[in-house]
Amino acid sequence: MSLVVFVVVAFGFAGTAVALRGRARAVTSVGLVGLGAAVVAAAAIEPDQVVVVGDAGLATTDYLRLFLVLGSAVGLGLAVAGLAGGTRRDAPAMTLAILGAVALTIGLVDARVAVIVATAGGLFGVLVTLLPNGARAGATVGIRETRAVVVAGALSIAATAWFGRDLSELVAQPVVFGLAYLAFAVAVAMRFGAIPFHLWAARLTDVVPETSLPILTALAPASLAIVALAWVDASVAPLPVDLGPERAVVIAIAVASIVLAALAAFVQDDIEHVLGYSIVGDAGVIVLALAALDPEAWAPARTWILAFIVARAAFAAWTAGIRAGFWTGRVADLRGWALRSPLLAAAFILVAVASVGLPGLAAFDARTSLVDLALDPPLAPVVLLATLAPIAYYGRLMAIGLRRPDRALEPVDAWRPHVVAPDVTAFRRWVFNTWDLNRAFSTATIAALLGLLALATSAGAFGVGEAAAGPPPVVPASDESAASIASRDLPPLGSEAP
């Protein structure tokens, strides 16, 4: 089946790259070829295929295919941007392993199994936390990330197991349903580093290359969020139980992330932290979708997830472009960046428009729908306004970019392509020299391309809306068991325990 091919390609190349990690160039080649193969394998996935294993199995959908195509494409783009701007040799392998885990997570029909794979996928990120200089500091950040992933995994395993059985003879108080729902929602929030679970994610930006950050804190957790959305729709939303207090907690986490992360991104001194907090802020909208408890939130939430991943990846590529072109990430040192690199300025505008959106764009409408579904007036318009807060940090970065540079910086033409005459007597050296000369141009070009991809995704291109509205993966033979946790099995509320 086509999904199995993708998984084999992703894990196969990831394993090969890790096995060759002593040879930097070989690792890079294997990683890039693997990511290219992953794009092809993802595009070749055929929807509505099923592999039955026992009572469960794997199934493909249009959404899974689109998610993997976009995920693999941004993974490849970020890997090349990292190659030009500086990264870890394990980054492509880590991206491939996470893509393999994400494919399984979204393709598995049983949420109890999917959360296990999602947890394993989150652990692959430790590969890029190890610093060449300062291994202890990197390992400390890595174990904190591992802690967040495993605690979230334990919560989601317990929550899905509690619902994943025959509940027709229920003796529990309704509050237990709320606790299971809250546990899974908190697990998703922890994986995204949502506020107040953000400390590990903030430290992660200190050690992880900017081009790996969206893979770790956006792509990998997004697969768990997709499982959570399907689980909430099938198991929690139909319940005739008042989940008011639990919903209030989830909404508080979401709103805190949306507002405070935007504020934190605005005041940060370096662009990697701006990137990190921008991911947290946009992830708050996904957490908000879990609080909607309405099947109407299904399509907008999944639309937003796709736009979120691609837009954050494009922003990461822009960050790498700034590093490669200006050799600094300090915001205060970036005066005039937009004047000195029009290509990066174009990429930045694309990213900002794709992220903040405009009425009529699919992502903008999806975010508006989620806020309306999750919140009632007068809070809804206030939070809707707060989702536009990223304008502040994008505006700050652009304002600095449009200022006159405060010192003479050379070279001023780093963003342009540089071609030197080929040397047929030393062709290999010529290739490497040309690559070295064009590092800044390469990252800026990739940032612009990913910005275009982000804008297209945000606008609803590639059939985003139709794919997002499609059903979750289902194995026909196990329909009964997969859906047995819905409310039809529950006794009326208030009935005495048997």
Partner: protein, 216 residues
């Protein structure tokens, strides 16, 4: 009550107490391996052979990777701050809670002993996970927490099928590998063993080890 399952549950909890309290790194790792090997056996009906074999391989692989990270003579980890007798009482109390609340409000699909052992493991994991300042100790705590969650899952929803067992084995091995990589990296970075760093890495170094570019 099935006496064989009771014996396995006892071994799982004793292994967890050792993992949570031992100061010798390899002794603590051995305790975790006992726990991880015993956990998939705590199911009724027993897991299918392929799934069970995968779980055992995953547990041994995770333990082996941690074992490598702790190689050397008398390598120390932080161990329990409150001592093993306190950990035993904590595990016993948590096991009693798990035993008494089996099913958590609905008929359970798995054995009550899995719930008791799962609660004991989760309780033993709290101290190292929350207060640990030692990478190996936090990692051992995370192993216990994951083991506890998987046991609670078995007690609630019954014996996992083969696909879930195989994927769970992958998760256990991945966790072991991740902790081993981090622990080995910390140990290789000067004196201090598995201690966490008190300082934040300096971002400006960029930490590129793949294709370092020459600064202009």
């Amino acid at each position: 009550m099935n006496p064989a399952l009771a014996g396995v549950a006892l071994a799982v909890v004793i292994g967890a107490v050792v993992a949570a309290s031992a100061r010798n790194a390899r002794t603590a790792i051995f305790g975790l391996v006992v726990t991880m090997v015993g956990a998939p056996l705590l199911a009724d009906p027993a897991a299918a052979p392929i799934g069970l074999a995968a779980r055992l391989v995953g547990a041994v692989l995770a333990g082996y990777l941690l074992w490598i990270a702790a190689r050397g003579h008398n390598v120390r980890t932080a161990g329990s701050r409150v001592g093993w007798p306190t950990e035993v009482f904590l595990a016993a109390a948590a096991a009693a809670v798990g035993y008494g609340s089996h099913g958590l409000g609905a008929p359970a699909g798995g054995p009550v002993l899995a719930a008791a052992a799962g609660f004991a493991l989760a309780a033993l994991a709290v101290m190292p996970v929350v207060t640990g300042h030692d990478i190996l100790r936090v990692g051992l705590g995370l192993g216990l927490l994951l083991g506890g969650a998987l046991l609670v899952r078995t007690s609630l929803a019954g014996t996992p099928d083969q696909l879930e067992q195989v994927l769970t084995a992958g998760l256990v091995a991945t966790l072991g590998g991740a902790v081993a990589i981090l622990a080995a990296a910390a140990r290789a970075d000067g004196p201090g063993g598995f201690e966490m760093s008190a300082s934040t890495p300096h971002r400006s170094s960029h930490g590129s080890d793949a294709h370092p570019a020459r600064p202009r």
